[in-house]
């Protein structure tokens, strides 16, 4: 019977199996929701291989991504560094502008509140020799400056104009050894003359020996020289020495204004009759008026 196909038994069995298997698979497919036991090992194998490949590819992809990320991070880092330095510069510039703004606002308020005629100026440079203490400001005779005009800051006296030029002017600082300013001790009203000592601050001269001068006393302008308004702070008393054979005290002073920290100044055009005591020492001014 089998011979019309010219098959032996083994071949016949294989043929039957070949036909039966698709039929069986049809039967298996018909019960989709059921997990057939025969599929399980294959599924497991497939899963395992798939997982292995997935893990491998995932690993490769992750490593590649990490490497690419590293490259990107490096680039991002460089970009961020540039941005950071740009921002730092901008921040510093903004802080500088903010500081300048605040300073200029204070200067403007001071100028508006002041009864004196003031001209604002900026400090350009210093003296050629270390033996002298002068600064150059960016206003000169073209702006109406003339020799002998007082130069002040918000905190106190800086010096006075001694050589006005067309567009600039040289200002002699209180510390210069050629500088002389009329002054009084704010607490006791004792009169004296402030003289520069070069690099070492200044001295209050011609104060009578009997006067009560203490360390920490504030020395203000006397107003007699018509250069500065009366009662404007000049310096603080640093030391007082009573020499045996001298009629006057030796008073060392520390100027209230540090010229190295000043950028903007005011040149006084007219200080006649101006008294700044009330602005700087309101309590003392009240006591004086009583």
């Amino acid at each position: 019977m089998f011979n019309f196909l010219n098959l032996n038994f083994r071949q016949f069995v294989l043929l039957i199996v070949a036909i039966a298997l698709p039929l069986l698979s049809i039967n298996v497919e018909q019960k989709k929701n059921e997990q057939n036991w025969i599929n399980k090992p294959f599924d497991l194998l497939v899963e395992s291989v798939q997982f292995a490949f997935f893990s491998f590819s995932h690993g490769v992809r992750s490593t590649t991504a990490e490497y690419l990320n590293l490259l990107n991070i490096k680039k991002d880092n460089a970009d961020l560094k540039i941005k950071n330095s740009e921002m730092s510069i901008r921040l510093a510039q903004l802080n500088e502008i903010k500081g300048e703004n605040e300073r200029l606002r204070k200067l403007l308020d001071f100028k508006e509140d002041s009864p004196m005629k003031l001209v604002a100026a900026k400090i350009m440079g210093g003296d050629l020799l270390e033996d002298h203490r002068t600064v150059t400001i960016n206003k000169g005779t073209a702006h109406g400056l003339r020799a002998g005009q007082g130069v002040i800051t918000l905190d106190g006296v800086l010096g006075y104009v001694f050589r006005p030029q067309m567009w600039t002017a040289k200002v002699m600082l209180l510390e210069d050894r050629y500088s002389v300013v009329d002054a009084v001790i704010q607490r006791t009203r004792a009169h004296g003359i402030v003289e520069g000592r070069g690099a070492g601050g200044c001295t209050l001269k011609y104060v009578e020996r009997s006067e009560d001068v203490r360390v920490g006393d504030i020395v203000v302008t006397g107003g007699l020289d018509q250069i500065f308004p009366k009662g404007f702070p000049i310096a603080v008393v640093e030391s007082v020495e009573r020499k045996t054979y001298s009629v006057s005290l030796k008073v060392d002073l520390r100027p209230v204004v540090d010229p190295n920290k000043v950028e903007e100044v005011f040149v006084i055009f007219n200080s006649e009759g101006t008294d700044m005591t009330e602005k700087f020492f309101p309590q003392e001014a009240k006591a004086q008026s009583l």
């Binding site: 350009m124 440079g125 210093g126 003296d127 050629l128 020799l129 270390e130 033996d131 002298h132 203490r133 002068t134 150059t136 001694f162 050589r163 040289k170 002699m172 210069d176 050894r177 050629y178 003289e195 520069g196 000592r197 070069g198 690099a199 070492g200 190295n260």
Partner: protein, 177 residues
């Protein structure tokens, strides 16, 4: 002293460079560095003049430059010129006894001239001024030390000016470098 258009141009450029040195010292250095004493470039230019010119023209140029320098400072001319005259005397005497061509000679004269200037200025002030200047050792020392770094550049520029305007007259000119 033969005064030609070339030497006038030479002098103009020296004056221009001298003013630049003074402005650098009093303005740029002040704005950038602030409190630190500035290098004394303005003394180095007269010192170069003193070792490269005839005695009389060197003195005249140095006095003229000193006058210009006094405009950058509160220093009175009556205090600065005697100091410069003494400095000139010292350098010219030294030059008449010891001289060789080259930047090393300018370095020697420059460095010792700077110290001598400070010493002479201090002594001058101490003797003739009622309120004399301070010793200011640290400031003066800092200035001299800082100035040492500028001696060679100043020499190169001054030499360039002399070469450009083919400055011929005077003492010690020629291939100094």
């Amino acid at each position: 002293m033969k005064f030609s258009g070339r030497s006038a141009l030479n002098l103009s450029f020296i004056l221009g460079f001298f003013v630049l040195c003074c402005a650098f010292q009093s303005t740029l250095w002040y704005q950038l560095v602030g409190k630190v004493p500035s290098p004394m470039l303005w003394v180095l230019v007269p010192l170069y003049i003193l070792i490269t010119r005839e005695t009389f023209s060197a003195l005249m140029i140095v006095y003229f430059l000193s006058f210009v320098a006094s405009r950058f400072s509160a220093v009175p001319l009556g205090s600065l010129l005697p100091t410069m005259a003494l400095l000139c005397g010292a350098v010219l005497t030294f030059r008449s006894r010891i001289f060789w061509r080259g930047s090393s000679y300018f370095f020697l004269v420059g460095s010792s001239g700077l110290i001598l200037f400070h010493a002479l200025f201090f002594l001058n002030s101490l003797i003739f001024e009622a309120n004399s200047t301070g010793f200011l050792l640290i400031d003066r020392l800092t200035q001299v030390i800082l100035s040492l770094g500028f001696i060679y550049p100043i020499f190169v520029v001054m030499k360039w000016i002399d070469r450009t305007f083919q400055y011929q007259e005077g003492f010690g000119t020629g291939d100094l470098i």
